[in-house]
């Protein structure tokens, strides 16, 4: 019974982690950017979804759509106003650009977080779930919303897989992550590819934010933790490896759930952090890292 409960709850939360981390790792893989405003963008998506659904009586679906659109807008803004100017700048030495991007996105994330706290308070908001009610799975009472969260997460990841492996545009993304120079020589415009990858990122982060808001609830104060969680998953899985991130998301999700059930909910994240320290010591390239 307890094992089944852990299995079900762990699956839902892990799927959500996987979705959140996929976009994060994709951006790194393709453009080498570690976007530290990731958590804040997820928070914006959730809060806008809550706001549109509640204040304008737009309903759960329109609200969710607005949330994803807000994340998309944030992602574009992050790229065009923060990341691209740094990458194109002649004044910043090449080897320092990564640090500038890190700092820039970190500060931008804090700005977003403070803006949300200022406009909507830092109290958690919960997005109205798309479906209500519960279902018994082998004796475990499971909210439909939890099942939907897992299904939608995997749906989005599945679509991404198809896009990357089956379409020409998607294949150019994959190529960009392997050899950007080669791609440029073949006549691809790198900046178009970057815009595309940020668009995909925005949509993924938006969906993850809205689902998280409906599943657990989100507050502006969570932005840092969400970034840290995506970061841990990506480091554990191997920087830039999407399949590594997926596996790592499940390792983290289940480790957390087991700790919460078997030890204590108040130290939920501690074993994951210990694991992360171990990985950095013993296998710095992560589970499926390429380096």
């Amino acid at each position: 019974m307890l094992a089944l409960q852990i299995l079900i709850d762990g699956f839902a939360i892990s799927s959500l982690y996987a979705l959140g981390a996929t976009g994060f790792t994709l951006i790194f893989g393709v453009s080498g950017v570690l976007n530290l405003s990731h958590g804040a963008i997820m928070v914006v998506a959730a809060v806008i979804a809550w706001w549109v659904a509640g204040t304008f009586g737009a309903g759960a679906y329109l609200g969710a759509l607005a949330g994803v659109a807000a994340a998309l807008a944030c992602a574009f803004f992050t790229y065009s106003v923060i990341v691209r100017p740094i990458q194109n700048s002649g004044a910043i030495p090449k080897e320092e650009k990564e640090i500038f991007v890190l700092t820039g996105t970190l500060l931008w994330g804090i700005m977003l977080q403070e803006a949300v706290a200022y406009l909507f308070t830092d109290n958690p908001k919960t997005v109205r779930p798309l479906v209500d009610g519960v279902v018994m799975i082998l004796g475990v009472r499971t909210p439909w919303n939890e099942i939907l969260t897992a299904a939608l997460s995997w749906g989005a990841i599945g679509l991404l897989y198809l896009l990357v492996n089956r379409t020409r545009t998607g294949k150019s993304l994959l190529a960009a992550s392997m050899n950007p120079r080669g791609l440029t020589l073949l006549g691809f415009e790198m900046s178009n590819i970057y815009v595309l990858v940020w668009a995909i990122y925005g949509i993924l982060a938006g969906i993850a934010g809205v689902l998280l808001g409906a599943f657990l609830g989100v507050s502006s104060a969570n932005a840092g933790t969400l970034t840290a969680s995506a970061f841990s998953i990506v480091v554990l899985g191997g920087l830039g490896s999407v399949s590594g991130s997926l596996i790592a998301a499940y390792v983290v999700g289940y480790l957390e759930t087991m700790t919460a059930y078997l030890v204590s909910p108040s130290i939920r994240t501690v074993p994951v952090l210990l694991l992360l320290v171990l990985v950095v010591y013993l296998r710095p390239q992560g589970l499926l890292g390429r380096r």
């Binding site: 409960q5 830092d122 958690p124 997005v127 009472r141 609830g217 919460a260």
Partner: protein, 409 residues
């Protein structure tokens, strides 16, 4: 031309030098408000204080001087609050401070109130430690007043109401305590463990959760496995998330106790209505005439700010009046005289009749609790509205629970 100009300046300076003291007498009296303005329970503190100041000023102020509220955001951080407090005392020259609903913040400010001789009152923090320090070190800490119930007193209200509501009305026998790990819940839980059994509720388990918890599924599953009749809460930093997850997972036992976030009017909207059936404690509610001032205040607040006041707002509103009264009686803003005057407070505010306990009491400078003073209410979210359900003589409705709640037969 040149000469007249110079004379002009000289006479202006001369005029200023003599006019200044006269102007100073009419300078406003500043009251500092340090609160968590982006937190749901905190934002009502400056809002309500400003309302009180406007009302006092409309009637001519205090000793001919207007009251001015200077507000500071502490971002729920003790360090920010201390900086704000120092600034309020040394730079902005406030006469008194109203601060915070977070015990950790108030406990950090307390020694500074002593050092800077700055009168301080909290409208919403609950830790017993606040008044204990006044009791233990009166000479240094006498500047601190506790304008809200201490944790132990909160537990006692919950237990007393629990005897009537849970044990007598609903025939409940067992409970699990679920509280967040924070300074204010340490004495709260200690008292729960003692007073719940005395009220007829056997405590099956006592769960303390991290205030950073976002996923409450494991906690609710654990509680459900222990099959209590009711979950007795002690939560303030968390609130929206456990409530929503309680409803989504259809946890079959009611949540009853202290839930500060639930006291705010926006709680219904923040939880998308998942709050339905949640029972929480307040000292004043918008639907109950605790005193003649309660309902008019709640109405005026809603008119001005668009939503009903959270729990700390009532106290904050009263506290501005009490400081004003103390300044009036003290004939000025000398801190020692203000403390002396404040100790003699006998004021009927929105939350009841307020008197402060003497320095030899364990809750020195805490409020007098009981019949005729501050009593406390239990309120339940029903269909979008907070409805007072206890005590019986002021109740405006009966308990109603969502369909998934299973009450003992």
């Amino acid at each position: 031309m040149r000469i007249t100009h110079k004379i002009g300046i000289a006479s202006a300076a001369f005029g200023l030098a003599f006019a200044a003291p006269a102007a100073r007498a009419a300078d406003p009296i500043k009251i500092g408000v340090i609160a968590e303005t982006s937190a749901i329970s905190g934002v009502g503190i400056p809002n309500a204080a400003k309302m009180a100041a406007e009302e006092i000023n409309a009637k001519g102020g205090v000793n001919g001087r207007m009251i001015e509220i200077v507000d500071y955001d502490d971002h729920s951080s003790a360090a920010d609050a201390v900086r704000a407090f120092q600034r309020a005392a040394q730079q902005d020259k406030v006469a008194a401070v109203i601060a915070s609903y977070i015990s950790e913040v108030v406990l950090a400010l307390e020694p500074w109130a002593g050092r800077l001789k700055m009168p301080l009152i909290t409208p919403g923090a609950a830790s017993n430690e606040i008044t204990k320090r006044v009791h233990d070190d009166y000479d240094h800490m006498k500047y601190v007043f506790h304008g809200y119930l201490a944790s132990t007193q909160l537990s006692d209200v919950v237990c007393e109401a629990g005897k009537a509501l849970m044990v007598n009305d609903l025939k409940m026998k067992t409970a699990v305590i679920m509280s967040e790990d924070a300074a204010w819940t340490i004495p709260l839980d200690e008292e729960y463990v003692k007073c719940l059994p005395a009220s007829g509720l056997k405590v099956l388990d006592h769960i303390r959760l991290s205030p950073d918890t976002t996923d409450f599924t494991p906690i609710f599953n654990k509680i459900e496995g222990e099959k209590p009749d009711v979950i007795v809460t002690g939560i303030s930093h968390v609130g929206v998330q456990p409530t929503v997850q309680w409803q989504q997972q259809q946890v079959p036992m009611p949540m009853y106790g202290i839930a500060s976030q639930a006291t705010n009017a926006t709680f219904w909207k923040d939880t998308n209505g998942a709050a339905d059936g949640v029972i929480f404690n307040m000292v004043a509610a918008p639907d109950v005439a605790v005193t003649a001032k309660t309902i008019p205040f709640a109405k005026a607040y809603k008119e001005k700010y668009g939503s009903l006041p959270g729990y700390a707002a009532y106290q904050s509103y009263d506290e501005v009046f009490m400081w004003a009264e103390a300044i009036r009686k003290a004939g000025g803003t000398d801190p020692d005289k203000m403390v002396e005057a404040m100790e003699k407070t006998d004021y009927v505010g929105t939350i009841g009749r307020i008197e402060f306990l003497p320095k030899d009491n364990t809750f020195a400078h805490g409020m007098k609790i009981g019949e005729g003073y501050i009593t406390g209410l239990m309120v339940q979210w029903q269909n979008g509205n907070p409805v007072t359900i206890w005590p019986a003589n002021v109740a405006t409705g009966k308990m109603v629970f969502p369909a998934f709640t299973k009450l003992p037969q």
